[in-house]
């Protein structure tokens, strides 16, 4: 049976985020927590594959105890199990330490329900925006990595092959890859479903599995939490608004067009010449 793992993260709702003008840091207080939207696309993708070819879906997150709410909302959508990796020792992790712990957790989940054939991540998070954790997990697990996937054309479990379309800046790339793979998804891939009523009720009663450091046998303590995180935020600032010189062209449409045309032609010449 195809085991799929989706890595999710609870993030502050970016629609409600404000920046403290004094410290230039995010004001997280009182901002509602949501599941990173791209991660929900990952959950939806896994559920659709489960519906087509069968399998089971495990959702994993690393975070504080309150992140169990995020797992429950994925269970409401139809995920089979939710695992919360939660321990003060994991706190302060950057993308390096996070991908290390998630890779360990995926291996551990694999021991329970079979080595995952596909691991899903969102293309990036709303709060960190790095897009590094997915590839980081793929490297550690030695999985093929398929990033920015906007369409999953086919999953052939028997032959162990997946065909996906990657969303690139200048086009679409169709890729065939052998399982196991790690896929990061863009929002174009699907529309995450609304939980059914039985799903919602199941999630109400569901208690996610919680793993602390003690639950891992071979965890390298130097690679987790703050200690395992070489990234340092040395400074943050809000960029100055860009100064753009604006000229208003007034007059009849013919006059305006007469003055505008040479300007546009000059621009075009410059960009093509560059």
């Amino acid at each position: 049976m195809l085991h799929m793992v989706v890595c999710i993260k609870q993030v502050p709702d970016s629609r409600e985020i404000r920046i403290d003008p004094k410290t230039n840091t995010l004001i997280r207080q009182g901002v509602p927590a949501i599941v990173n939207p791209y991660d929900l696309n990952g959950v939806e993708a896994a559920l659709q594959i489960k519906e087509q070819v069968g399998g089971r879906v495990t959702v994993i997150t690393m975070g504080p105890p309150s992140a169990d709410k995020a797992l429950k909302s994925c269970v409401a959508m139809g995920a089979d199990e939710g695992i919360l990796i939660s321990d003060r020792a994991f706190a302060g992790a950057d993308t390096l330490a996070t991908s290390y712990v998630l890779a360990k957790a995926i291996e551990k989940a694999g021991a329970l329900w079979g080595a995952p054939g596909i691991v899903f991540c969102g293309k990036q998070t709303l709060d960190g925006d790095t897009g590094q954790v997915g590839p980081g997990i793929a490297c550690r697990l030695d999985y093929e990595q398929l990033t920015y996937v906007e369409h999953i054309e086919s999953v052939d479990v028997e032959r162990g092959v997946v065909v996906v379309h990657r969303h690139l800046e200048d086009g679409v790339e169709r890729i065939r890859a052998p399982l196991p793979v790690l896929i990061t998804v863009v929002s174009e891939i699907n529309k995450p479903r609304r939980a059914s009523l039985p799903g919602l009720l199941r999630a109400q009663a569901y208690q996610p599995i919680v793993w602390s450091t003690a639950d891992f046998e071979d965890l390298d303590r130097s690679k987790i939490g703050l200690r395992g995180s070489p990234t340092i935020v040395s400074k943050t600032w809000v960029p100055e608004p860009r100064q753009v010189d604006t000229e208003f062209l007034r007059g009849t449409p013919a006059e305006v067009a007469g003055r505008l045309t040479p300007v546009l032609l000059e621009r075009l010449r410059m960009t093509q010449g560059a």
Binding site: R194, L197, P198
Partner: protein
Amino acid sequence: MSAPRFDAIVVGAGPAGSVAAYTMASQGMRVALIERGEFPGAKNVFGGVLYRKPLEDILPEFWKEAPLERKVVEQRLWVLGKDSVVSLGYRSARFKEPPNAWTGQRAKFDAWLAGKAERAGAIPIYETVATSLIRDGDKVVGVQTDREEGDLYASVVIIADGVNSLLAKSLGVHREWKPDQVSLAVKEVLALPKDVIQERFGVEEGEGVTIELIGETCGMAGLGFLYTNQDTLSIGVGVMVSDLQKKKVKPYQVLDSIKQHPEIQRLIAGGETKEYAAHLIPEGGFDAMPPLSGDGWMICGDAAQMVNAAHREGTDLAMLSGRLAGETAVACHATGDWSAGGLGAYTQAVKESIIHRDLKKYRGLHSLLSGPQAELLFGALPQALNDAAYEMLSVDGESKRDKQKRAAALLREAAGGTAGLIGIGWRGWRAMNG
């Protein structure tokens, strides 16, 4: 998978529904609490005053943990003239301990109250619309929701889905409200620093003032209000929908004109608008109340027109009706009798409660306000009272007797002669005491 089944389904996590759910869940019943908003309170609006008594009977000393704004130590009534005000007020230390009422904000308060029901064991089903009732013959046996596989069954459905009750319509106990049975209230929340609010309203930390406003509603039947919160003010006005239709006035125009009044301006100046809300208020009164219970169902709160417009009470009546419905369900759960007869105990309990007695007392108010006197009561008379006050209080060399005569004449004239003034007084008296 067979459809989920509960002892009771409560539709609407407002004050009526949450109290009903809490009452039943804390007695060990299996309760589902359905709410269409993202969270309880997300879609709810009220002017802003919560009384102690109705909730205290259910949750003793709730104010020690509930998110409330300021305890009301002074209530004012302002009769507005064009650029003046005749004011009446009552302030007492007796309102302080224990407080009689608080100002509040529904988004916070309702979420808290629903949380109490959840912790008592009610199962929250939020962001879900209960679209219609499921029946077996005449008996209500559950609700349909807008989710996949969304049917839900229970021994009783408590309908507390507010003024635009989809389920009461589905039940057929009432149709759309008539335009003269509902008011449209618009409200703004204005941010001001705490100390500015305390200074302008003359109160200490944690204390607040409510001001009810009559007049300057473009001659339409309606009341305005201005309440103090911690670091915001709630200002709004409710006007009967039929009047808005007749006068072709937009509700926010009425609020804007009240905000421009010089005496109001002094209190709200500098306030930054944080929220803008509008909501219907059922004001049909006693005669608009639908049947309250039947085979497998009960109706509470706004869905049943339980609002006392004269005393700005709705939330407390909703909570009381929720409690009575919850208690009835607990009793029926014990006997297993969910028939119209068994649940009729709720209708009886409402009849014996303050809900019925108060609404009955004011049953004439609705026809008074929707009648031709409204223009006089809310337009000409408030202005005449202001003019009369000016006559009485200005010292200009005229004898006091002449001044009093002229002041009285102003009022009489506004009311259409002595007979008119007496008539208005009589009808008003009857409406409030009938």
